[in-house]
Amino acid sequence: MENIMQIKDLKTYFDNTNVLKGVTIDIPKHEVTSIIGPSGTGKSVFLRTLNRMNDVISTFRKEGTILLDGEDIYDSKVDVVDIRKRVGMVFQKPNPFPKSIFENVAYGMRVHGAYKKAQLQEVVESSLKNAALWDEVKDDLDKSAMSLSGGQQQRLCIARTIAVEPEVILMDEPCSSLDPISTTKIEDLIHKLKNDFTIIIVTHNMQQATRVSKYTAFFLNGTIVEKGLTDKIFIEPEDKRTEDYITGRFG
């Protein structure tokens, strides 16, 4: 098993507030890893540190290393734009741009310099197909992305992310604002996407973690209490705190 990302003793600070207190975890390639844990324990911060989204916050600082394919993503020689291209992100609330469906998916490629119509069309189509959205929107590519339903918008955001061919896709509670059917569709999608991408998903839905991921890490107060095979954690957790959390008795 190959690890695409290796996180070693990661500590993060906002001003002097210490959020992550030494997180060490390896992310296996082409697998789905779930991050679970109570609110405010640093799951989202962790995710946003992996694609350097926290860089925009001026008080943010981190210790420890994050390796992507063995390369430190916070190295001064590394271009942050390149990191975000390689580590894509899907957000909690679907956030398509107020543009057409086509332009939403083409956005990443345009930003990275692609302009040939034929090439854009090809990638837009394949990305939408990959995101299981093509059949629903193929006749309305010029329509605004805002006219789609919440579930469709989220799949569009996934299509937009895979269009730039990242290696890792971070998902921050991607189904928390969706209805059950849309949630199922996204979960099916995640299942399919893991063949080509590595996925790290933060979820508050424990069942979702058991359904979509092979590995799970339980975060509590900025540390990982337990990590390992999802089946193991949900049937036979080692730590009492993990047990209490996943059985819903605190958190």
């Binding site: 734009v81 992100m89 957000f91 107020p98 543009k99 956005y107 930003v111 990275h112 805002m146």
Partner: protein, 282 residues
Amino acid sequence: MNRMIPPKYAQKIMNVVFWAVGILAIAILVMVIGYLLYVGLPQVNLTFLFSDPIDNGAAGGIWPSIVSTFYITIVALVVAAPLGVLAAVYLAEYSGENTFVKTIRFATETLASVPSIVFGLFGLAFFVVYLQMGFCILAGGLTLALMAIPTILRTSEVAIETVPQSYKEGSMALGSSKWQTVIRVVIPAAIGGITTGIILGMARAIEETAAILYTVGATTTVPVSLFDGGDPLPLHLYTLATEGISLPNAYGTAAVLVILILVITFSTNYLVERYTKKMMGR
């Protein structure tokens, strides 16, 4: 507290009051415009629109004034819109919050509340005399631009600030730089507000009299270059009315000015709305 009026009736009474206030506001607008058009429109015909004035406007038309207004507004916009919008982008997206930025904000607000005649005098001293432009369209346009910048800046800044953070994050997460995000996502998403700001600034420029009184001169011929003098509609109107040259023609000019402003406002509103609707999928 002893309730004098039962809540049910209080609600009804207040409904009536709010309706009345609303209707009053509309009524005033309709009255002013209606009266102007009622008195002014009879003067307006093709000859009035497209011929030169005779005897300083006592007779003849207002063609040179229409052209002057057009020119001077374009000059003001070409200068003020990019400056205002770029400054707004800087303040909303780049600057953060520090003393320098606070100073800029304070300066902008002060600038917005400076009386237009003061702008006019500044224009006279700086553009006309110091920069030796003389009384001309350029000097007038630049003076108007100075006046329009605060309006455009404030409105655009608010519009840019209301662009959801999630759009920007979505863009950044796809690997676009800050500048690409601003150009491709933030400004298009804020274009409605930005256009409104530009229109407000433009409306202010079109209707302004005092600021151009000392900068544009009062040449009653059609201006050809930027360095020609001009006689924009408000100034023409002002001269006609204050110097008692021709009150009917003053009304005619006013009617044309009002129609011009209405047309610009409505058509831009329509276009912006259509664009926003299309982008927001409504």
